[in-house]
Amino acid sequence: MSTQILMPALSPTMEEGKLAKWHVKEGDTVKAGDVLAEIETDKATMEFESIDEGRIGKILVPEGAEGVKVNQPIAVLEMEGDSAPAPKDISSTMQAIRDAIVPAVAAPALKAPLPEAPKAASTPPKGEVQKANGADPHTENRVFASPLARCIAQQSGIDIGNLHGSGPRGRIVKSDVEAAAKGSVQKAPAKAATPAAQQVPRPAAEAPATLSGIMPLPDARLFFREGEYDAVPNDSMRKTIARRLASAKTLIPHYYLTIDCDIGALMSLRARLNEKSLKGEGAYKLSVNDFVIKASAMALMKHTDVNASWTDAAILHHKHADIGIAVDLNPGLITPLVFKAETKGLLEISNETKSLAERAKAKKLKPFEFEGGGFSISNLGMFGIRQFTALINPPQSAILAVGAGEERAVVRDGKIVAATVMTLTMSCDHRVIDGATGARFLQTLKVFIEEPASMLL
C-alpha cells in the first residue's frame, strides 16, 4: 500500500508554502520522526517529519517549488507490502478522472454491477499523510446501512445514499428503506419517459465523489475556533447537492453562452392569453417561464445535438424534450422533469410545472420524476437577477439560466428605445456541445421567444 505525503499546514492560516529543501530522495527508507523536508512560509521555515514508516516512492514536488498548496501531495510513501503503484503524474490523474466518469454512464456492453458504497477519502483535519487508497472506513461519504437495508434498497431501486438513517448513530435500517419505498412506488424509473435508459443499462450509482490525485480541500473548521460558529448538520439533500454539483463542475467542461431576447411580443401575448382564462375551475395564469419551457422544447427538437448525454462510447441524442425545472425548496433545490415537453401546450406545461413544484415542496416526488432528462431551466428572474450561470445537471449536457425580464434601453435603427429584455445564459458541456452548436440552438430559441407565434410554424 502506498500513501501520499501531503503538504503540511504549519499554522492554521497557512494556505501554501515553499518546499525549501528535500532531506530525502526517491528510494530512501524513512521511519516516523525522520525529517523529510524543510517547508518555508512567509512567517518561518520549519522541518517536516514523517509520521509513517516506509520508502519514498516518488517525489512529486521538486525542491525549491513555491506556492505549494496545503494538502497537495508532495511525495509518495510506499509502505510494506506495497503493490499498487502510486499516481505518478498528470496522466494518472486523468486516468482517475476517466475512471470516475465511466461507471457513471456505463457503456452499453457493460452489465451494471452492484457498486461498492462510494468510498472517498475525506480531508483529515490535521494529518499530513493521507491514505491514498481510502482505506479508512470512517470517511464522511461512507453510507452506514444494515446489510438487509442495502439488499432491500438495491432490489427496490432506491439510492441508499439519499436516505436518512433512524438506527443507532444514524445507521440506515430496513424500516428506513421500506418507508422510502412506500414513497416511491415506481420502481423501474422512467423507462418509457427517457428512451436513453432502454439502450444503456441504467447506471447503478454515481461515481466516487473524490478522485485520487486531485487535491482535497482543507476542512474549514481548521480556520475557526469552535464556538465562533454554529455547525448546521448537512441533511441528505444538502449532501446530494454537494456531491452531484461538485462532480458536475469538476468533471464536466462547462462553457457559457449569453443572449438577450426582446420579450415585448411574448409579454403582450401572455397578457392576452391570461385574459382569456376562465374564472374559478380551469383558471390559469401562464408565466414567462412556461413560454421559455415551450420554446426550449421546440428548439431542442430542432437541435437534438443539444438535447444529448455524454458517454464514453457514444453521445445519446434524446428523442423527446424532457426538461428539468429548478424548484427552490429553501433550503435546497430539486429539478423535476416535464416529460415530452415538445408535445405539450403552454397550458399543460403551466399546470404540470405548478403540480411538480407543489409536490417537490411537499417532498412527494418519485425518483423517476427528477432523475435523467436532457435539459434544464433555472429561472432567477423573480429575484431581479439579470444574468447568471448555472451548473449542468448530469446526465444532461446543458442548462439555461433565465434572468429577469426588464425594461432596458436598447439601440434600434440608430435610436435608443425602451424594450423589455430578458437575458438567457446557457451552460454547455463542451464534450457534447461545441460553441457554434450551442450558439445555433440559442439563435433558434431566441426566435421562438421573441416571436412566440413562430412556434406554430
Binding site: 444494515s146 446489510p147 438487509l148 437495508a149 439488499c151 432491500i152 432490489q155 433512524s166 438506527g167 443507532p168 435500517v173 430496513k174
Partner: protein
Amino acid sequence: MAESFDVIVVGGGPGGYVCAIRCGQLGLKTAVVERENLGGICLNWGCIPTKALLRSSEIWHLMHRLDEFGFSADNIKFDLTKIVERSRKVAAQLSNGVKGLMKKHKVAVIDGEAKLKGKGTISVVKNGQTTEYSAKNIVLATGARAREFRGLEADGNLIWTYRHAMVPKEFPKSLLVVGSGAIGIEFASFYRTLGADVTVVEVLDRVLPVEDAEISAAAQKAFQKQGMVIKTATTVEKLQKGASNVTATLKAKDGKVETITVDRVVLAVGIVGNVENIGLEQAGIKVEKTHVVVNQWCETGVPGVYAIGDLTGPPWLAHKAMHEGVIVAERIGGVKGVHPLDTSKIPGCTYCWPQVASVGMTEAKARETGRKIKVGKFPFIGNGKAIALGEVEGFIKTVFDADTGELLGAHMIGAEVTELIQGYGIARTLEGTDADLQTVIFPHPTLSEMMHEAVLAADGRPLHI
C-alpha cells in the same frame, strides 16, 4: 406537602426496577413502589427460582447417566427441602442485589401498595397508613398473575399455581399440569425428571403452542419418551378434591371423557394483568382483557402515565418488560433516537429438558405472509460438541426471506439452546442477512456451529450432514 419525583415506578419487578435504574442513570429523581419484594415475580417467584429448581433436576438426570460418563454411585437420593431452600436462597440473593442497585442509582424505594390519585399523584398504603407522592411521570409496572377459572381455583394445598409448585413441602407422586405453555412445561419437566408421574393437558392441538410446529412436535416426542403423558386438544372439566388427592375430569375434543386421580394439580393456563386497585378506572386508563392498553411508546393515553411489562399484555416475558422500561425511561429522559419495541425481535426461552428457544416468525407464520421463504435445519447429532456432551437430541431451524435474505425466524430445541438464541437475536437486530451469517466464523467445537450449519442448510449447503 407531598414529596415529589420526576418519575415514580409502581412495581419493582424486572420492568419496574430496570426502568428505575435507567431513569437514575439519566439523572431523573426516581422512586419505585413495591408491595412485596424487589425483583417482582420474575426474580422471586418466576424465572430465577425455577431455573434453580431445574438445575437441580438436571443434575439428578445426569446422576442417572453416571455410568455413561465413567462414574458409579449407589443410593442416589434427593432432598426436596434442600432443593427448594437453594432456590429460595438464589432468589433472596438476587432480590438483595436489586436493593443494592436501587441505592447505587439513587432510586428511592417506597414500601407499600400504590394507587393513582388524580393528576401526577399517587398514594401509597403501608400498614394502614397512607402517604401521598407527586411525580411528573408515573410508570405502571404492576405485572401479572396466574389465571384461574371458576371451579378450578388453586388452594395452595392440592391445587397449585406456579407459586405453590415452586415450594413443595412434599414431593407429589403424581401431578397433573394444566396448560403446556412455558410455565406449565417447565414444572412438568422438573417434576417428571425427579420421578413424578406427570400428565400434561393442553387445550390446543400441540404443546408449546406459540413455538414452531416442528419444535412442538419434537418437544412432545421427547417429553413422551421421558414418560410424560401428554393430552392435547383436551380440557379439564372438573377438579374433585379428595383428602390427599384430586380427581380430574378431562374432556377431549372428540368428546371422550376420562378421569384421572393425581396427588397435585398445577394450573398454568395463562396470565391476567394486575389491573385491580391501582386507580386505573378513576384515572381513565383503558383496560382490555385484564391488560392496560398502551401505544407503541407504552403511553396509556393519560398524559404522564405509562404502563410496561406483563401489565400491558403478551408476550409475558421479563426481558420484554425490561426493554419497555428502558424505552419509557429514555423517552422521559429526552434521549434521542429511541425506537419502539419490535416484538419480532423478542426471543422466547423455555427451560424444559430439552430446552426450547426461538425468535421471530415460525415457518407457518412466515408462509402466511406470502413471501418466498427458505428454511434450514441442522440436528444436534451432526455436531461434535453435542456428541461430546452426550446431548444429541434436538435441532436448529432457520427461516429466511428467500429474496432479501432477512432472517425471519429461528427455532431451536436441545441442550443449552436458551444460551444460543441470542446469536440470531443479534443478527436480526443488526439486520444481518443469510449472506452475512454464512461468513461468520463460529468457534469449533461449540454447539453454536449448528447455528451456522442451519444457515448454510437454508441454501442446501450444510457442511456436516
